[in-house]
């Protein structure tokens, strides 16, 4: 058995080559979108040409599972642009080391950790994806709020993600609860439940189903809505009145990193002008003072002053209540 182990070890070494982290290279885990990653990495390479940046892109949920599973021997140096609600999981916070990236001090207090373990220069928003063709065919009014979705005419025409399996689902639920207050918020969710055709496990699925004309309305992400409109789908993006949910994209330094110097340089870069200029062309939601959101977003109906559409979200509260809210949701609406 021992001998066998030795031989497989030797074989493995022969087949390796990629796994060992050498100086001058960092591994970055991210949940940012494909297109922006491509451009950001190009800019970051230009800004720090001596460092090889290896990026692993996974969805928010998959990334969380991966980080926890790897906890015994973490492989990443940096977590970059990941949902702050997920980041606030104590098990994840424990993997992070406080580092105040230069420039992060400009961010408002709500957009960085008091202990310096994460900071969030950007974010993403929830939105209703409304299929205008289906709406017309079914003779439905354009929904403007969660309350509008109570209308029995929408029965079987609305989809949203399940907050128990999707961060986007939780984003919507917490926005309703925090803007309307606990009691009214739950009553609102209960009122739209009979119209819900599906609670999906993926956050972008409701928008994809709506754009394909499977359903009239999908509570989903503004990013997917914008992307779909750009591609030509008959879709309208609607921010529910009273405030739409949003999530911050946080970054932090892994305390296990073996190349902290370069990891810190990368985090500094995410707050540099080279990066923030790009945020302006990709991001609808930028928290860096003085940086405007993307023109495409504005064209698709995003107001210049996001404060008018965003819900007032207390992320610390949102992260703290997660388990209780999800359990209650499942009790009330689980199918």
């Amino acid at each position: 058995m021992k001998k066998w182990m030795m031989s497989i070890t030797a074989g493995a070494i022969a087949l390796m080559g990629a796994a060992s982290a050498n100086a001058g290279s960092i591994t970055v885990y991210t949940a940012l979108e494909e297109e922006e990653i491509a451009d950001y990495v190009k800019a970051a390479n230009a800004a720090m040409p001596d460092v090889e940046i290896n990026v692993l892109r996974l969805s928010t949920g998959d990334l969380g599972a991966r980080l926890l599973a790897e906890a015994g021997n973490p492989q990443a140096d940096v977590i970059w642009g990941w949902a702050v609600t997920a980041m606030m999981n104590p098990e994840i916070l424990n993997m992070l080391e406080a580092y105040k990236a230069s420039g992060s001090e400009k961010l408002g207090a709500a957009y960085r950790d008091a202990d310096g373990r994460w900071f969030a220069p950007t974010g993403y928003m929830g939105a209703f994806c409304v299929n205008t063709e289906r709406l017309k065919a079914k003779g439905l009014p354009m929904p403007k709020s969660w309350k509008d979705l109570e209308n029995p005419a929408f029965k079987g025409e609305v989809v949203m993600p399940d907050p128990n399996s999707s961060g986007t689902g939780y984003l919507h639920v917490i926005a309703v609860l925090q803007t309307m207050g606990e009691e009214k918020g739950w009553a609102q969710l209960k009122a739209v439940d009979p119209n819900m055709a599906q609670y999906t496990s993926s956050g972008s699925k409701p928008c994809k189903a709506a754009r394909a004309g499977e359903y009239a309305v999908g509570a989903s992400l503004a990013f997917t809505a914008l992307k779909s409109i750009e591609e030509g789908y008959p879709l309208a993006m609607v921010f529910p009145e009273g405030g739409t949910g949003y999530e911050l994209e946080a970054s932090g330094l892994m305390s296990s990193s073996k190349n902290k110097a370069d990891a810190k340089r990368f985090l500094d870069w995410t707050m540099s002008k080279s990066a923030t200029d790009l945020y302006g062309s990709f991001k609808a939601l930028v928290t860096v003072p003085g940086v405007k959101g993307s023109a495409a977003a504005e064209k698709a109906g995003l107001p210049a002053d996001l404060g008018t559409v965003l819900a007032k979200i207390d992320f610390v509260e949102s992260a703290k209540n997660q388990t209780a809210v999800k359990a209650r949701w499942k009790e009330m609406f689980g199918r």
């Binding site: 058995m1 066998w4 182990m5 497989i8 070890t9 493995a12 087949l15 390796m16 990629a18 796994a19 591994t27 970055v28 494909e34 297109e35 491509a38 290896n54 692993l56 892109r57 949920g61 998959d62 969380g64 599972a65 991966r66 926890l68 599973a69 790897e70 015994g72 021997n73 492989q75 997920a86 999981n89 098990e91 994840i92 063709e133 289906r134 399940d162 128990n164 399996s165 999707s166 961060g167 055709a197 599906q198 609670y199 496990s201 993926s202 972008s204 699925k205 994809k208 394909a212 004309g213 499977e214 997917t224 591609e231 030509g232 789908y233 008959p234 997660q322 499942k330 009790e331 689980g334």
Partner: protein, 563 residues
């Protein structure tokens, strides 16, 4: 042949005693070590997580918590219901197709074989998309006939699961029907047994092992599959979605592990039911069997052919509609044709395709060799050992891909053993793919090994052949068609499987199915469909090349592959 796969005892001549013993030892030991290291050990780590409580102590608190939740019981009910329905239908249809392919005479079988293989070589996104494009609320069928069909939920999930399970059922059942003794049928004919009698009294009892094995596999893969449930299951919650919601949605790994371990229970139960049923196994394979060559019999062949072509056409159309959509400007609003979706630069572009081919070949070659050795070894092993090995060999299908993937991360990313050197390598991905699909391959191999006439082996042994010679000259020719089926099966699945490997990819080691998922995540569904089409083309081409190679290698053989 008796009930146990192990129970054939061949008298070993003294001359070869040591060499033969060593041969049996080696052919059993290597695959068993592999199974222990790459399946049992990671699974044990998952089990450990399932009994690790929030405060870090060990206990059954997680189990109590899960058992007390309403959602778990609802999902369990749904899973059992779905599993039984899928099994009943898939086995029925699978038997029809396998019987048509191996026991009927008609033209165009190659088309049926190709169509049946499609769900194995199509990325899971394709099947889900295809069903929605066709049967969705805004799908073609509803548009043309205005039926107001709503497939999301039980029915959609049932259809998707059957499509996925059917090729596996055909493969395993086919392995029992490939080889049969024409003389038994001739004798029946002479004695005046009508064809229906022959079918009920000869064919069916002989196929029992294959049918039961196939039923076991279908039931198990159905209750562990997450992909179909997420795409088309609507909010019909099943145990696999329950695990997803715990692990991915709530980052609650230990709770997910509990549900993963619970998923083994129905499998253990169905394993025992299957073993019990086998105790009454009928018939055996005769030594100098004459292969059954079907002659055209209209009353039998026409309906069988019609049914098979119909099923094959339904499967093919679901895939073809996605290929078509990948050339359409904007499905379902602008049906102008374009190739722009094939210009893929994001998410790694086309580069991961070549890595994937390499990984898949490694999984298929290594896996086939391992299963051949295991098949040889398990027949000569002591009964108790054979039973234990059999049990763990059929278990991998009961573990959802996500659980296997995360178990691999937990196991092979730990510096406690030198195995961590495998982490992030193509080797580990290939190994993971093989063990993920171990059950299907193993049961096909076992079904094949059951057809080897034991008297022929005994004769060869008495005449002084060594075990090695017997393995090559006696056993191998009988099991070759099954081995080729296993090879293709492992290759096809490795090319497209996602649920486990998603957790094992690194920035430098990524595979094609992950690229598809990333494209779809980015909202570029048409590009994901285009990429899937490329994979299917490449896999199809590779399969044809390999078939040609096998054909050249084994010109004497008249045996076809099972799928």
């Amino acid at each position: 042949m008796s009930a146990e796969p192990s129970a054939i005892t061949t008298p070993l001549s003294n001359k070869h005693f040591d060499v033969d013993r060593a041969f049996v030892m080696i052919s059993l030991t290597i695959p068993v070590i592999g199974l222990l290291l790459f399946f049992v050990y990671p699974l044990a780590i998952v089990f450990l997580r399932s009994i690790t409580e929030a405060d870090g102590g060990l206990g059954l608190g997680n189990y109590a918590h899960v058992l007390a939740s309403k959602g778990f019981w609802r999902a369990t009910g749904h899973s059992l219901h779905m599993g039984l329905a899928t099994t009943a239908i898939s086995i029925g249809l699978g038997f029809v197709i396998a019987h048509a392919l191996h026991r009927c005479a008609f033209r165009g079988k190659v088309l049926i074989r190709a169509a049946i293989a499609l769900p194995l070589l199509a990325p899971s996104l394709v099947q889900g998309l295809g069903l929605i494009f066709l049967l969705g609320r805004n799908g073609l069928v509803n548009k043309w006939f205005d039926l107001g069909l709503d497939i999301y939920g039980f029915w959609g999930l049932l259809i998707a699961n059957i499509f996925y399970a059917l090729p596996q059922a055909v493969m395993i059942i086919g392995a029992t029907l490939t080889l049969s003794d024409a003389r038994t049928y001739e004798a029946a004919e002479v004695m005046g047994a009508r064809p229906i009698r022959q079918f009920l009294d000869i064919t069916l009892p002989n196929a029992k092992f294959g049918v039961l094995s196939a039923a076991f596999v279908v039931f198990t893969v159905t209750i562990t599959d997450f992909g179909n449930a997420a795409v088309i299951g609507g909010d019909y919650s099943v145990l696999a979605t329950e695990i997803y919601s715990q692990v991915i949605g709530q980052m609650n790994f230990n709770m997910g592990a509990v549900v993963g371990i619970m998923l083994l229970l129905p499998t253990v139960a169905s394993y025992y039911i299957e073993r019990l049923a086998q105790k009454r196994q009928f018939g055996s394979h005769a030594e100098n069997a004459v292969p059954f060559v079907p002659t055209f019999t209209p009353a039998r062949d026409l309906p069988m052919a019609a049914a098979s072509f119909l099923i094959a056409a339904l499967i093919a159309i679901v895939i073809v509609v996605v290929v078509y959509a990948s050339f359409v400007k904007l499905w379902p609003y602008n049906f102008g044709m374009t190739v722009k979706h094939y210009d893929i630069t994001l998410a790694g572009g086309y580069a991961p395709l070549w890595t994937t081919i390499y990984i898949s070949l490694a999984a298929a070659i290594g896996g086939t060799v391992m299963l051949f050795l295991l098949g040889l070894g398990i027949r000569k092993a002591p009964d108790a050992i054979a039973k234990a090995v059999y049990f763990f060999s059929v278990m991998p299908a009961a573990v959802p891909g996500m659980v296997i993937g995360l178990a691999y991360v937990l196991t092979f990313n730990s510096t406690a053993t030198p195995l961590y050197l495998l982490y992030g390598t193509a080797t580990l991905l290939a190994v993971c793919n093989f063990y993920h699909y171990h059950t299907q391959g193993f049961l096909t191999a076992m079904t094949g090994f059951r057809q080897v006439p034991s008297a022929l082996e005994e004769a060869a042994s008495c005449l002084g052949s060594s075990m090695t010679r017997i393995a090559i000259d006696v056993v191998a020719p009988y099991v070759t068609p099954m081995l080729i089926s296993i090879f293709f099966f492992l290759f096809m699945r490795s090319m497209v499987t996602l649920s486990a490997v998603i957790f094992l990819t690194t920035p430098k080691m990524t595979v094609a199915s992950v690229t598809i998922m990333r494209l779809d995540d980015a909202g570029l569904t048409s590009q994901a469909a285009a990429y899937s089409t490329c994979i299917m083309l490449i896999v199809g081409a590779a399969l044809m090349m390999m078939k040609y190679v096998f054909y050249r290698m084994d010109k004497r053989s008249t045996l076809g592959t099972v799928v």
